[in-house]
Amino acid sequence: MAILEVTDVNKRFGGLRALHHLNLQVEEGTTHAIIGPNGAGKSTLLNCFVGRLIPETGSVTFDGASLLGQKPHQINQLGVSRVFQTPEIFEDLTVLENVMIPAFAKADGAFRINAWQRMESRADICDEAKHILEEMGLVEQGAVLSSTLSRGDKRRLELAMCLIQHPKLLLLDEPTAGMSRADTNNTIELLKRISERGITKIIIEHDMHVVFSLADRISVLAQGTVIAEGTPDEIKGDPKVIEAYLGGELG
């Protein structure tokens, strides 16, 4: 069953056609990679999923509910978490506080004033936070300011912040951008472990090594539309994909 359905989406920026009659279906429980050359519309598409952009026409439906016109926090409350290209964390707070905030947002909703209760007196949330930090190998840095973490640890922290919310859909925007080979491989291992939880994932990625290691299905975007879709093996041999990446003249 498709958990995310994108139907006939169009988006223009001035004269530029960023998304053009785009259709996409993401099956529940799969890891779906979206690849394509620069300017193909990958980030625009992602921003339509999270409420930052609203397409001119078409529909984006998640788990039976339309995402169009919803604010980022509402979409998150529906069960969509995202990881940014450069890890976005609360740099002025400790690692533990960083994972407790999303846990509170999941448990208490988008707005609730509990100004009188000490944070650590919520045992359920504390346990969950410590558990996720153990799983991510960050438990020793719990009391450390998150700005002092290494880039790889920041990425793991950001993933922990998403996973503590038990999302139905996890969006990963170039999770290995700018990483060394070793860090990239660590991230791949981490994401493979997450796959065991059955969370649906959408990965936007340039690095084919990452894509072919993780993806169950791949959609190839070029000039704002899906030009090919299939399993990694099907995509590898597709002449249209090679043309899109290497340019028409060579094909």
Partner: protein
């Protein structure tokens, strides 16, 4: 794993309370132990703690908080004029009115962030200030300011509804048969709210306000406010609707300012529009940054220092300086008086400005940052010596 334990917080609260209640004794050597100044310390301490809930936690810099201070003062004086000289209704009414006012201004201003938010709050405060001098004179009594007056003679009481510039009604006090001779003084169930009783009333409220601010900053609500300052974008993608959190923080800090305004009227029953001027809004920003934005004690410390300078440094004049330098030969004495004279008396702003610059440049976290560093290095030194004596050989 948490920055502070609940036990450490209780110790801090007890130490803070002890210091505040013993302030008349502790501040005596500094020449600051007279009730008028002590009241100001406590009142502006409350103002700065409240301001810090908005600015220190969320990072939203309001440049119009003096408006809530002014509104609180006017609301209190009206309670004195219309109902009773007892301070409890006045204080409660001021907090409510300032809260409603903050709700309106915050609702509009929080549609923007950064410098635009600051400018919007500044615009609202200046608007209130100018309105108080013009259109709203029936409520504010314009330049003269709103004051507590003598009672209206009973035979003319019916003529008055809201035109009460020169005479008051005080329905509740009249119904209770309180006898007034001349212009009455504010009281707490009969206890006069001037001098030291007035200070202790403010001091108790300061301790309560400090406790509330402490609870807020240790709660999830406070943590969300800190996260807004840290990374608002991430917070909205984490499922938190930031706007109502910001508005709540804005209203709470407006209520703190309203309480401070009420206490200004309690200790001196008079309200003037100059309390709402932008310089007054700027002063609370200085207090918070000077002491340490985002810390619990910093704002109170900053408020104390600024009010101390304003009252003590500004009262030092050339005669005092001549006495200080009297041991020097006449030429040197004159020179010393001329140089130091620039920094005291009228020139106390210069001292404050220099101090502010030095602190912002070298201690961006305010005086509290300096104190924490000092304490930290003491602790390290102590543990180092302890470790070296412990080690065998």
């Amino acid at each position: 794993m948490f920055g502070t334990s609940s036990r450490a917080d209780w110790l801090l609260l007890i130490a803070f309370s002890a210091f505040v209640l013993a302030a008349p004794v502790i501040l005596k050597p500094f020449g600051a132990a007279y009730p008028d100044l002590l009241q100001k310390f406590a009142i502006y301490g409350i103002f700065a703690i409240g301001f810090n809930i908005l600015f220190g936690l969320t990072g939203y810099l309001s440049f119009g908080h003096a408006a809530f201070l002014g509104v609180g003062s006017y609301a209190s004086v009206w309670m004195f004029k219309l109902f009773t000289m007892n301070v409890i209704p006045a204080v409660l009414f001021s907090i409510v009115i300032a809260g409603l006012f903050a709700l309106m201004i915050g609702f509009v201003s929080l549609r923007r962030s950064g410098i635009y938010f600051s400018i919007l709050t500044l615009a609202f405060a200046q608007m209130s200030y100018n309105l108080a001098y013009s259109v709203l004179t029936p409520i504010t009594n314009g330049e003269t300011g709103l004051q507590v007056r003598q009672l209206v003679p009973a035979d003319r009481a019916a003529d008055y509804v809201f035109v009460l510039r020169d005479e008051d009604l005080r329905w509740v006090d009249q119904a209770l048969g309180v006898v007034e001779e001349g212009i009455p003084i504010t009281n707490l169930f009969g206890m006069k709210m001037s001098g030291y009783p007035g200070f202790y009333f403010c001091a108790v409220l300061l301790i309560i306000c400090f406790f509330i601010a402490m609870r807020i900053s240790r709660s999830n609500f406070g943590m969300v406010l800190k996260a807004i300052k840290s990374n608002q974008n991430r917070l909205s993608y984490t499922g938190v609707n930031t706007r109502p959190y910001l508005l709540t923080a804005f209203v709470i800090s407006g209520m703190y300012a309203g309480l401070a305004g009420a206490l200004l009227a309690v200790t001196d029953p008079l309200a003037g529009a100059e309390r709402m001027q932008w310089t007054a809004s700027g002063e609370v920003v200085l207090m918070t940054i000077l002491g340490g934005a985002g810390t619990l004690l910093g704002p109170v410390l900053g408020a104390g220092i600024i009010k101390y300078f304003e009252n003590i440094f500004s009262s030092i004049n050339d005669t005092v300086l001549e006495n200080v330098f009297s041991f020097l030969p006449t030429t040197l004495q004159d020179m010393s008086v001329a140089v130091t004279g620039m920094f005291v008396g009228e020139g106390w702003h210069l001292t404050l400005g220099l101090m502010f610059m030095i602190i912002v440049i070298f201690l961006p976290g305010g005086l509290m940052q300096g104190l924490t560093h000092l304490l930290g290095s003491f602790k390290r030194k102590f543990s180092n010596t302890a470790a070296s004596t412990d080690s065998p050989g």
